[in-house]
Amino acid sequence: MTPPNTHPYLLESASQTAGPYVHIGCLPNDVGLPMYGGANLGARMLGDGFEGDRVTVRGRVIDGTGMVLRDAMVEAWQADAEGRFPPDAAPGFHGFARSGCDADGVWTFETTRPGAVPFADGRPQHPHVTLMVFARGINLGLHTRMYWPGADLDGDPMLARIEQRERRETLVAREEDGGLRFDIRLQGPGETVFLDV
């Protein structure tokens, strides 16, 4: 079925799954391909010269049967501590990171607590990072957010839009081992809130 074209000009190219070998293209050095001078794109969100607090974020991606994905790639994009995005951010702050999953299905990146970034209507939002999940079986990259814990969830304009209050919790990290922990549930009980923005 062809949808009505409400777009003024061209239609976006259709998405296709990143497939089981996304690492070859996006994280080649993780799968034994020594490419690009040995450094994967997005290997570090905090580069040389970054001064500020560092926190490690870890999580897993879990399917509808409770199985942990080991072939997923998770990408992160966020503002610096002052709420600024690159190229206007603090020295050494890249804002972007991507991670594959280790043998236990854990993705990880090191970051810093972001400052407030405005919602579409200008109201400030609580500290969060935008995440995208790509994997075999995911037809269109899944867009979500991880919020820093301790926030007043009612005060965030995006979280306030989630009608079922308990679902807001799916977007909030918890403190663990001196860092943050954030699991993404693709389906079923505790399904993460995904975004269409």
Binding site: E12, S13, A14, L69, R136, N139, E191, D196
Partner: protein, 247 residues
């Protein structure tokens, strides 16, 4: 709370994603989607700076051979039909997207990936890694050189084969434009048989993922050329712009 600077309704918001062009999350014919598809509706809201900004990569990121998959693994030439893939990256408003980063990956000429989890019978090519990257120029055009990948079987139904394809990952100017897709080859009889292609509801959208032989760009006695144009999400334009472009 401190009010932040952005005028409601000002230009710059991302055009809502045309969900009808994209595959639905759940499509039982592509079996892995059954357990990896969210069942609840996604939450929609207008984009803000978090979605309208995105990582920007400079041309200095690229190494000399990044865009040449024929030689970028060992320096020796990979085996297979030599092709150049070119095209223009535009946004939905039709404007070229300069400085977009394209990452590509693919199987070798026999249909085998250089990956521990690919156990297909076809041999590895010692000189083919299977990945590369390039960026669009000021006019939104890109080019890379590679060998034409082979079709390969995959565990889904009893006898499913992927059409020959190249995986593409694109960064435009904003994270909300992020796109991963695949390029198919004109005339490949596997295209209508493939459950992954079949996740796309609109046949025209499949056609737009199908590269055309570009006879004029063919290098005689050397390399054939395929043309593959890509469209990323665009941003609304209104005459009331009062906020500088985020990037």
């Amino acid at each position: 709370m401190r009010e932040m600077t952005k005028t409601p309704g000002a230009k710059g918001g991302l055009i809502q994603r045309a969900r009808g062009v994209h595959p639905p999350a759940h499509d039982p014919a592509y079996r892995t989607t059954v357990t990896r598809s969210p069942r609840l509706a996604p939450l929609s809201f207008p984009s803000g700076p978090a979605e309208e900004t995105g990582p920007v990569f400079g041309h200095d990121l690229l190494g000399e051979r990044d865009a040449d998959l024929i030689t970028n693994f060992t320096g020796e030439e990979a085996i297979g039909p030599r092709i150049v893939v070119t095209g223009t990256v535009r946004d939905e408003t039709g404007r070229p997207v300069p400085g977009a980063l394209l990452e590509v990956w693919q199987a070798n000429a026999g249909g085998r990936y250089r990956h521990a989890r690919d156990g297909y019978l076809a041999p590895l090519d010692p000189n083919f890694g299977g990945c590369g990257r390039c960026m669009t120029g000021e006019d939104g055009t890109y080019a890379f050189r590679t060998i034409q990948p082979g079709p390969y079987p995959w565990p889904n139904g009893m006898n499913d084969w992927r059409p020959a394809h190249i995986h593409f990952s694109l960064f435009g100017h904003s994270f909300g434009q992020r796109l991963i897709t695949q390029m198919y080859f004109e005339g490949d009889p596997h295209i209508p048989l493939c459950p992954i292609v079949g996740t796309i509801p609109d046949p025209d959208a499949v056609d737009r993922l199908t590269a055309r032989l570009d006879w004029q760009a063919t290098i005689p006695m050397d390399t054939r050329a395929y043309r593959f144009d890509i469209v990323l999400r665009g941003r609304r334009q209104t005459p009331f712009e009062n906020r500088p472009e985020a990037l």
